[in-house]
Amino acid sequence: MNIIQKTGLGLFLIGFLVWIATLTMGKFTLTDQVLKDNLKPNHYEQLRPSLAPMLNKTYATPFGFNDDLANTIDQVNRGYKIQNQMDKAINDSYAFALTKAASHGIIREANVPLFWASIGLAIVGALINILAGLRKLPGIKNDHIYHNSTTSRGWLGIIIGTFLIVFYVIIYFFPQYIANWTFLVDPLSRALSGTPASQWFLYGTLYTLAILVMGIRMLIKYRHNRYQQVRTVSVMFFQLSFAFIIAEILIALSLPYYDFKNMWPLDYDFFFEWHLDSLTSSGRLGMFMLVWGIALFTIGVPLFTYLYGKRWYCSWVCGCGGLAETLGDPYRQLSDKSLKAWQVERYMVHGVLVFVVVMTALVLYTYFTGQSNIGPISSYSVRSIYGFWIGALFSGVVGVGFYPLMGNRVWCRYGCPLAAYIGIVQRFKSRFRITTNGGQCISCGNCSTYCEMGIDVRWYAQRGQDVVRASCVGCGICSAVCPRGVLNLENAAPGSRVLIAPEVLTGNDMLRENHKARMTDTQN
């Protein structure tokens, strides 16, 4: 690392530490006004007496504050249980809203300077570090990836993974402890949607910033490769506009939150009653959203996947893919390439697809009949199981938290039901394939090593067979890192895909014994 890179990294780390420190900067005082503003009126009446001892008491950390708050609500609920008045029990989660409303002090007053001193400084530092890459001549620069503990599952990688896992657990399950962070992005949230920032707005902001900053890193790292540049600009654009700005503006216009590029079954609650109700009650735009959402996966997926392969979505449009291809790029080499991993992957990812289809069928059954149960199975418990295990744990905690441990596509490879669906189309009916260039492969292994989906690309390349795999997201990195120009992502008539290796590789003129050797998929 040169001095500029070190400076950038240093600034990034200072910004990061300030950001962590902001968690300790607030004080928390519950007042009557806070309760009135944040509780439903009946809950206010129910909780006010029991919360009296907490009122106007100042807590130094969100932990003490939330302990007392949770204990009080528990106590009230237990009382109802004893009196057999469970209908009065309070199940709403007020922890985040009350913590944020009760917070005061420097974090609330100086949130803008603190934003710049933390997140702002980290961005500047990261960009300085990244821009220093321009000093190198353009070309593949993977030096020292396996010498660096960050990118080779060493102690730094484990620390980063642990941080990401903890971050996701907190965002999903304990947002009250990071209420302070939402103050930092309050001004942005108010500017876009007119509402204060929730933990999800904070998450969306960080997610978008990660894609943009690390997207710039990709643009510089691959400035000799226009496929990578165009693809990276595409994921940056879709994240910033569709997933972030447009979605927030819809909220400002009192319209349903909608990410026009997300679709069922990745967007697994698309057919939940609350969502269908919110769309059907939002006039023409709501109806358009409903039709658009259904058309995307019924018409869009087969059509575009036939024409261009899975990549049109997974490495050009998708938000999960966008994060994987930018923030996750330094970890792509950590995916497992073994045959065993491929076997596990096929069971898991198609298993999740079956799960989401069954769940959605149950949800629609409930929607149309009003019955919550089919036999002993309740559609509500099925959807909450899916939401917890797949929606939160798998796609979030494991999907991103395991970047530095299992590579950047853990979710896409083992868990994403949409990837499974698109993959089936790609495998059986698509013009897409990765062509291998005659006999030029030297079996070096760069392609397999840098395949984020764990495809053993070399296995195909060295036998002259096209790579036609359900999981391939078409990121194009195998082609980029190939030192001999062997691999190329191409679209052509589906029948021209070479699915069976030629008997003799190009360059050897000995007679072919088996003339059917170059069979293709139209002949199968």
Partner: protein, 445 residues
């Protein structure tokens, strides 16, 4: 069922083993002292630079060999008793064979320079060389590389990745100019210098001198009398077949193990393939010893067929090869001879960026294309091969340039500029390049 013993687990030996297994039930044993498993020798540089670890360079998972009943034995072969059909291995073990395939590879050349046996002087060929390199280059300031070939430039890239300054001594007046025509040679030389390599054309090694310890390299002296302080010397002046250890046996050798077109040596049931084989009568246009990955693979494929019962001569097709000079990929197809033969003309185009170029050599009479050189461009192997075999004319090639293009999508296309360059030098017959088919016609093709 015969016992086929293959000495050497490089690309030639392993290709032979895999293809023999595909088509027969023979017992197969592969012996190597170098590594337990087959790995890609061409990837050694990437291990050193940290792009990959050794395990990533193994083209097959470890279970593959047992599953395919290919027995692997890690041992050096010390002697072969061809009479008894017996190999003597390390530690007095021995092994008998019915059929023996020698795929023992090469070793780096050393031309008897004073000081060539000092610590810190080595070549780069084997896994053991890589291990030595790690030790010798730890914490050093400057390395001198002797030899302007493919290994020399790879070694330069490797050392630079560790922050080691590099001096590259090239005997010729320009990098690799006995293989690359002048323009390509100049292009690569410029690129090497852009990476801050101290490139010294027309310079040879005269002597390697020790440092104060007397054991380790401390400097070198060139044939021009210059002294260059360095802590490491890489001898990258080619390789030669590893045959000296068999000198006292009835096996007939010259520079390599002499074979006929069926890879048969002078001894019954003994074959030789890959780097170590020397053809008594090489196929037209090919060298007697060709130390190329692809050549080794083709030999392995071909010999396997003979072993499995169909006696098949060595018929390599149109020549091809590839390399990468730092960031510039190089592919070649057919014959691009230096100097240009009298009956051949050449067309050369170079982009103004100075890193991208295409050469097409063709016959003077009917214009049949005979060879391609591509720098910073990827060409489609099958199409280049077909055009050469079908003796397509240079005009045809210009009209159909789109078909040899193999660069990734969205890359800048150069066909128009290339054809313009061609037309400007051949104004008598202006070529109109064939247009890309429309999206719809491609869709329904």
């Amino acid at each position: 069922m015969k016992h086929i013993v293959i000495v050497g687990n490089g690309i030639s030996g392993i290709t032979a083993a895999r293809h023999i297994r595909k088509h027969s039930d023979h017992r197969i044993t592969v012996i190597s002292g170098e590594t337990d498993y087959f790995f890609s020798r061409t990837a050694l540089m990437y291990i050193y630079m940290g792009h990959m670890k050794y395990e990533h360079t193994k083209p097959y998972e470890d279970y593959f060999w047992e599953k395919n009943r290919i027995e692997l034995k890690k041992a050096w072969v010390n002697h072969i008793d061809f009479e008894q059909k017996r190999l003597l291995l390390d530690g007095d073990a021995s092994l008998t064979y019915d059929v023996l395939i020698l795929a023992v590879g090469s070793e780096p050349n050393r031309f008897g320079w004073p000081g060539q046996d000092l610590e810190g002087v080595q070549g780069l060929y084997s896994y053991q060389d890589l291990e030595k390199l790690e030790v010798y280059t730890k914490g050093i300031r400057r390395g001198v590389i002797v030899g302007g070939g493919l290994i020399g430039v790879e070694m330069a890239e490797m050392l630079l990745s560790r922050g080691i300054e590099v001096t590259l001594l090239v005997r010729e007046q320009s990098y690799w100019n006995h293989v690359l025509p002048a323009e390509e040679s100049a292009l690569v030389s410029r690129h090497i210098q852009a990476h801050h390599v101290d490139l010294r054309p027309g310079t040879e090694l005269a002597e390697i001198r020790p440092d104060s310890s007397g054991k380790r390299v401390g400097s070198i002296v060139t044939n021009k009398g210059e002294s260059i302080e360095c802590q490491f010397v890489c001898l990258a002046v080619g390789v030669h077949p590893r045959v000296e250890w068999m000198a006292e046996t009835p096996l007939e050798t010259d520079r390599g193990i002499l074979v006929n077109e069926y890879f048969e040596t002078n001894l019954p049931d003994v074959y030789a393939i890959g780097d170590c084989a020397q053809h008594r009568q090489p196929p037209a246009g090919r060298k007697a010893i060709e130390q190329i990955w692809y050549t080794g693979r083709i030999m392995g494929e071909t010999l396997a067929r003979t072993i499995c019962g169909t006696r098949t001569p060595y018929t390599p097709g149109i020549f091809f090869n590839s390399a990468k000079f730092f960031d510039i990929e190089y592919q070649t197809y057919g014959e691009v001879a230096v100097p240009l033969p009298a009956d051949t003309e050449t067309f050369f185009w170079e982009h103004s960026n100075g890193r991208t170029a295409l050469r097409i050599n063709h016959k003077s009479d009917a214009g049949a294309v005979v060879g391609f050189n591509a720098m910073g461009l990827r060409l489609r192997h099958e199409v280049c091969e077909r055009w050469i075999k079908e003796e397509r004319s240079i005009r045809y090639a210009m009209e159909h340039l789109r078909d040899i293009h193999f660069d990734p999508e969205f890359f800048r296309r150069h066909e128009e500029e290339i054809v313009q360059t061609y037309n400007s030098t051949h104004p008598e017959h202006v070529v109109v390049p064939r247009k890309k088919n429309s999206f719809l016609s491609r869709l329904f093709s």
